[in-house]
């Protein structure tokens, strides 16, 4: 009625990926982080399996095995795929980040609309000398996270972003 469907929807190439990869140490970081998470899941699974009555074990067993297999496969694949797909780029006036390992999330914002630039290092990240840089705009929907950068790179990016956004006037809304 008020919507007409297009006669044809051509396939389109996605955006070029952003220029830079994250630090190679991120692979080990993601692997360790994933492993720690998986250990917790396994512990819970075994604990539950231990305590449920035998009747339930019969059908709960296969479910748990499936979950177990999934976590193992995920451990094996996720860090490398994530490393290949996580990319970022800061051009003169825009910041562009791509994340996700099965899905793909591409975020773009002009630096003139940037409000804050935060750097964050978790305890685990510090072991691998990594840092996240989060760039927020006036929209809660659009924070851009440059994950797992080398700390030196993160410091340089933060300084550069702070310098550029500091030149912007107005409330960036």
């Amino acid at each position: 009625m008020t919507v007409t469907q297009p006669s044809s929807v051509p396939d389109a190439a996605p955006l070029h990926e952003p220029a830079h990869q994250v630090s190679p140490r991120a692979v080990r970081y993601w692997a360790l982080q994933g492993f720690l998470g998986a250990v917790v899941v396994w512990a819970i699974l075994f604990a539950v399996y231990w305590f449920v009555p035998d009747g339930v074990k019969q059908w709960l067993g296969p479910v748990f095995v499936a979950i177990l297999v999934y976590t193992v496969v995920e451990q094996a694949l996720e860090p490398l795929i994530r490393y290949r797909r996580t990319r970022w780029e800061v051009t003169g006036e825009r910041v562009f980040a791509q994340t996700g390992w099965l899905s793909r999330d591409q975020r773009i914002a002009p630096l003139s609309r940037v409000q804050t630039v935060d750097t964050e290092r978790g305890p685990l990240m510090r072991i691998f000398r990594l840092a996240n840089v989060t760039v927020t705009t006036a929209s809660a929907a659009g924070p851009i996270r440059l994950t797992c950068l080398d700390t030196d790179v993160a410091d340089r990016v933060t300084a550069e972003l702070a310098r550029v956004t500091g030149q912007t006037r107005g409330d960036a809304t």
Binding site: M1, T2, V3, T4, Q5, P6, V9, P10, D11, A12, A13, P14, L15, H16, P18, W59, T91, E93, R94, F96, L102, S103, R104, D105, Q106, R107, I108, A109, P110, S112, R113, T137, A138, S139, A140, A141, G142, I144, R169, G170, D171, A172, T173
Partner: protein, 534 residues
């Protein structure tokens, strides 16, 4: 009418409309002001009202004889304390204007100072409850547009409030002139940004309540909640009716009882429908009485409305980045719609209701007047094509499968208690019933889904049960998020999000073919994707 400054109430020479007025007291920082002493009458009324439920409980408890006499005496003491606290709160609440700021000091024990820079003030809302109105008082809420916090001055006199409103918004309107001149986002969105800035001239009325619109009141879903609550209460009484005594139906008088039951059910339905009509009409009248939507000189949008509690909301037009037209399915039957403004940091969730359920034609006209562009609310949109249809249908049916699975576990594997009484076909019934419902919803969602781009606005329509058309100024787009889930990637679809500071801070076009998404983003904000398109 532009008597300044508000806090002192001193008569001043009327300022030329549009010219920035002098600060409240020329060249000086003002003394702290208290709110009107008439608030001292409001506080006891409020205190008693908040104590009324406990008081009634206590009184009932004591008359029944099982009450505690301690509470019988304690309740009045608490009421007195509450009044006393109200007086103290009034005593310790002060505000003042400096040359740059509005400052408010509150708190009896822990003191708090809230400040708002005068040239950042984006909205002034005035609200008077019936108590306020009897005493000639008003509550003013001052919003700065950047964060959600508002400064609340509860207890200005009516004159103070109206001159405060004019003064504050004139100050900020003057400051906004240079802001509009500075370059906005890269990507040429600046050409769209300057529109809606301050303008001079007469007030123009964009809309006024037409009581013919009352016919749309019963089709509003918000009153359904109220009626459902009332039915719930009635249901409590229903328990007392002798409907459970099925043996009654077996004796000679059986058919009489059955007839009575039918009459009772029919009567209940009539009561619910009548109740719905009455409640929805009453609430429509209460909240939208005397609605007028005015574009004031200097680029302000002002709504005034309300029968008992009157509200006046004023937003700087430059902060209104778009509108949203909402048509839920009941309203669609009668060609009705609602209108909401999407503004930056104003109102709850950045949205301000502008029109009640009203004829769609009126909503479109008013919306277009507000957007200063014809078309966004009436134009035909571009749909998202067959693959979007497939995706929407499939993702909808995941919900069906989940529900059926949830029904299957207790029916087929749990033979305990109440679950044991579930017949074997329950999961199948869920599967078919919910499945069909989801087919209808998904098809509707796909038919409603579409987008468009005008010279100045981005238009996105979504929704199945509630169809919403969001119109966002292109200059209000901060950035873009292109999200593709695993299944969307295989179909070449994406969820395109335009991030913005206005309204709910995002406009999402779901399941849009990737090429369309990138074209749309590229066209809406030229240059933003430059170098990354293939």
């Amino acid at each position: 009418m532009t008597a300044l400054p508000p806090p002192t109430g001193e008569p001043l020479a009327p300022a030329d409309p549009g010219t920035p007025p002098p600060p409240p007291e020329v060249g000086g920082v003002q003394d702290w002001q208290r709110l009107s002493p008439r608030m001292l009458l409001v506080h006891p009324v409020r205190a008693i009202r908040s104590m009324i439920v406990p008081l009634v409980l206590v009184v009932f408890g004591t008359t029944r004889g099982d009450g505690n006499s301690f509470w019988f005496w304690a309740a009045p003491v608490f009421a007195v304390l509450a009044v006393l606290f109200g007086v103290l709160a009034w005593f310790f609440t002060r505000y003042r204007f400096t040359e740059e700021q509005l400052q408010l000091r509150t708190g009896v024990l822990s003191r708090k100072v809230v400040t708002a820079p005068l040239d950042r003030i984006r909205s002034v809302d005035l609200e008077s409850t019936p108590i306020h109105r009897v005493l000639g008082l008003t509550k003013a809420k001052v919003g700065t547009g950047v964060d959600d916090s508002q400064i609340e001055l509860d207890g200005l006199t009516r004159d103070q409030a109206s001159s405060l409103r004019v003064y504050l918004l004139q100050r900020s309107g003057g400051a906004d002139v240079d802001e509009a001149e500075e370059p906005r986002a890269e990507g040429g969105s600046g050409d769209a940004a300057g529109a809606g800035g301050p303008r001079r001239g007469e007030d123009t009325e964009l809309a006024r309540i037409d009581w013919g619109w009352l016919r749309y009141a019963p089709f509003s879903l918000s009153s359904l909640v109220v009626v459902a609550g009332a039915v719930g209460v009635l249901g409590q009484f229903g328990d007392d009716l002798p409907l459970d005594e099925t043996e009654v139906a077996q004796d000679a008088w059986g058919w009489v009882a059955a007839q009575a039951l039918l009459v009772l059910v029919a009567g209940a339905i009539v009561v619910v429908v009548l109740g719905w009509v009455v409640v929805s009409t009453a609430s429509y009248v209460l909240s939208w009485w005397n609605l007028s939507l005015v574009r004031e000189a200097g680029g302000k949008i002002r709504t005034t409305r309300g029968l008992l509690t009157t509200r006046s909301q004023t937003i700087e037009e430059a902060k209104i980045r778009g509108v949203r037209m909402t048509e839920q399915f009941l309203l669609r039957f009668v060609r009705g719609a609602e209108l909401t403004a999407l503004a930056t940091g104003v109102g709850s969730d950045g949205t301000t209701r502008l029109l009640p359920p009203a004829p769609r034609r009126v909503v479109q006209e008013v919306g277009h007047a507000l957007l200063e562009e014809d078309g966004p609310l009436t134009m035909t949109l571009t749909g998202h094509g067959p693959r979007a249809r497939r995706r929407i249908h499939v993702s909808r049916q995941w919900g069906t499968l989940t529900l059926a699975g949830l029904a299957a576990v207790p029916t087929w594997w749990l033979d305990v208690g109440w679950f044991a009484t579930w017949p074997w076909w329950v999961p199948l019934a869920v599967l078919v019933g919910v499945g069909l419902l989801n087919v209808v919803i998904a098809e509707n969602a796909w038919r409603n889904l579409g987008h468009a781009l005008t010279d100045r606005h981005l238009v996105v329509q979504t929704g199945a049960v509630i169809r919403t058309r969001e119109v966002l100024e292109r200059g209000g787009v901060i950035g873009w998020v292109v999200h593709q889930g695993l299944f969307q990637r295989r179909l070449g679809l994406a969820d395109l999000t335009a991030t913005t500071a206005a309204g709910p801070e995002r406009v999402v076009a779901p399941n849009i073919p990737l090429g369309m998404a990138l074209d749309l983003a590229d066209a809406a904000t030229p240059g933003m994707l430059q170098g990354w398109r293939t």
